[in-house]
């Protein structure tokens, strides 16, 4: 079957032959490999995307369920050139090591700042509770987002 949806502002149609996750379709059919697959069961958040304005794990969304919806990925959240404020804050705070979790964390943090421009430490932690980072111990990520929120880190 074919699935049509809006991807980062453009209409796309993808071929879906069998039950497959939206993550796999994004990566393998639509060549957007910024969203990462690390657990394939919604535990790590590496595949986080926005689906009709909701933060979701794309590994848990059936591709067929994306029909007619609006999908925004890390590629869509990144400016044409350079970095978004969330990305810039993380870059400056040293919040990227191996970087595998980073796209998912950027998506989750952008969603947080969209609805709450000055989140507290607790709000930052709760918003990112679904994103596992194995490298940083999260401290630099918290510092980055606290500084973006205007709190002294």
């Amino acid at each position: 079957m074919m699935v049509s949806f809006t991807l980062n502002g453009s209409a796309v149609t993808a071929r879906v032959q069998h039950p497959v996750s939206l993550l796999d379709v994004l990566r393998d059919e639509l060549d957007l490999r910024g969203s990462k697959g690390a657990c394939h069961q919604g535990e790590c958040g590496s595949c986080s995307i926005m689906l009709d304005g909701e933060l979701v794990c794309s590994c848990l969304v059936m591709a067929a369920d994306a029909e007619g919806s609006e999908v925004v990925t890390i590629e869509g959240l990144s400016p044409a050139d350079g970095l978004s404020p969330v990305q810039e804050a993380m870059h400056r705070a040293g919040a990227v090591q191996c970087g595998f979790c980073t796209p998912g964390i950027v998506v989750a943090a952008a969603e947080l700042f969209d609805r709450n421009p000055r989140p507290t430490n607790t709000e930052i932690r709760e918003a990112l509770a679904g994103n596992i980072c194995r490298c940083t111990g999260y401290s630099a990520i918290v510092r980055a987002l606290e500084s973006l929120a205007g709190h002294s880190a």
Binding site: V96, V106, G137, Y138
Partner: protein, 738 residues
Amino acid sequence: MTAITRVRRVEVSGGVGESPLRPDGVPKLRGEFDYASDLWSEGMLWGATTRSPHPHARVVSVDIAPALAIGGVHAVLTAGDVPGRPVFGLEHPDQPVLASEVVRYWGEPVAIVAAEDEDTARAAAAAVRVEYEELEPLIDPEAADAVDSVFRRMRIRRGDQSADGPVVVEGYYEVGTQDQAPLGTEAGLAVPDGQGGVDLYATSQFVHVDHEQVVASLGIPEDQVRAHPTGIGGAFGAREDVNLHIHLCMLALHTGQPVKMVYRRSESFTGHVHRHPARMWYRHEADDDGRLVRVEAKILIDGGAYASTTAAVLANACYFAVGPYRCDSVSVDGTGAKTNNPPCGAMRGFGAVQVCFAYETQMDRLAERLGLDPLEVRRRNGLATGDRMPTTGQLIETPLPVSEVIDSLLSMPMPDEASGVSGLPGGSGLTTEAENVTRGVGYALGIKNLGFSEGADDYAQARVRLTEQGAVVETAAIEVGQGLVAVLAQIVRSVLGVSSAEVRHVDTSRIGSAGSSSASRQTQMSGGAAYEAARRLRQRILDGHDGDELDDRGVHRAGRLVMPMSRLAAEGWEETVTFRHPPTTETDEDGQGSPHADFAVAGHRAVVEVDSELGLVRVIRVDTAQDVGKAINPESVRGQIEGGILQGVGLAVMEELIIEGGRMKNPNFTDYLLPTILDAPDVEALLLEQEGSWGPFGAKGVGEPPTISSTAAVVAAIRDATGRALVRVPVRPEDIAL
């Protein structure tokens, strides 16, 4: 040895001691960085692996016909198709590329397939019909020890073996199996070159050792295989051993097409080695002042089915069995058991983690027995430069700031008594009532070697070239996330005197080995090679142009520019250096000798809040002081410390790969619990900079010490809060509440 000739640091932007932005930060943040799992090639096939469902069985027959019958399947290969050496291994080749007669662990590869898409490949791997005759698995490492099924035994005897003291503490300790759980799973792409050779782009910590093993098993000349450093999502020891590398190359050469393979998470758990589970018995004897008179230890680690690095991990566990403490009468017996459990090997801390949990618990018990403060008993015994290692007798020549670590921990402010709601055990779910919470504080110190040991010829090669874009550092050293890509450039800037410098990873055909990105070694080793290459290059350039200064503008003589950079770069200057650290020796039959090139110490103070009724623990804070030599990039050092501490916290309170009857019960992220941002403590770190003797600018390795004593400190804090003995990690709720 090719040592560093020390030179004055050139003042230059982005040099040593600064924390310039990571050059790979922007692509990683934009989702544009290519990891091995993102690689793509026109016309590529997907690979998949058929694995044993039994921990121990005879392979009666393998029928590949049902797999081949599936449309879109291009190849199904079994043991008989391995063209060269049928086994591989990081230190000792004992592991079949594909099992033939016997499978020795749950998940061992038996067949590999290549097909037109990933699902077809997995379906074909599942369709391979393997008939097994189950055998009794050997799963208890003590039983393995009893029947002499071992990879290595270690024996250390130092000093008067009849020494004794009036104060005795004895204990038995266990450490469960921890997984590195790097976020990126094993992945790779092999591309045939059409002339019988192959290019391999796969997750790795050490491409030259992959290359060596791939070449041996393919049975083709060395120059026919090129292993390329490739983007990887973390490592922590999991990527030292070959897993899919030989398989990918076999499939690519067999089909003549590029082949890609990506392990899913559950397969990743079976596809890489783990931290060794350990059982340890200790007896400490001290005088009435708490000074150690004798330490005895028996250490048993389970290496699983194949050798991997068990021999070296066991050696480390035994060499560091006493910790950073003086003692002149030591007896250590160690065994690395060979069982039918999943193979164990390298993980951050490499044997030093397990023993640290045991010896630090012993030190706390000694302090308690004597009514001493836990840090006071450590201070009375702390090693210092000029002492001998309690186990090997090796003279400690490097700065070893044990007493400074203790002073630093004491100087750091304690967190407020009142935690916010989110600080409570169970988090903001309000599982716990604030009045049921008890706070505890615990301390631990740890020590580890840096670089390869026991007489290994440890070296790293790097090349520094001058181009019109500035200096380029060529290396095969793997960037695992630690920030080497910034550190090597910083070193070259500060030595060469040129502010524009970048690191380029090149494949095994274009540069010599950098060794592994492990053992906390690359800043010292590849950093040492880059330092010395830059120094020689600068000297040659200045000599060649009779200059006295080199900077971004070019060569100067007496304040006048005599050779502009554009013309200088066009001259094609480059320098390649192979750096070696001071030689080490194997030890004798009593474990005596000088097996280590360098040491580093760190200490941790953990503050926890515990709900003893529910058995819930919240680690509020972990403060640390660490011996770093010289922080080349303070922000990256901090990143290693914060990340390493959380892995230590994970081992203390949640991370355990549960293996029953040789089978993994929780090989996924739902059941193998990793610390989230809500579990992460606040961390304050003091970097102790006493310059080491041979690293660039006095740098020491920093990656492993954060993971060594953080676990022990957290458990000490839980003991302080609960009064429980807690002799096993991870500490489970039932260990506290029941």
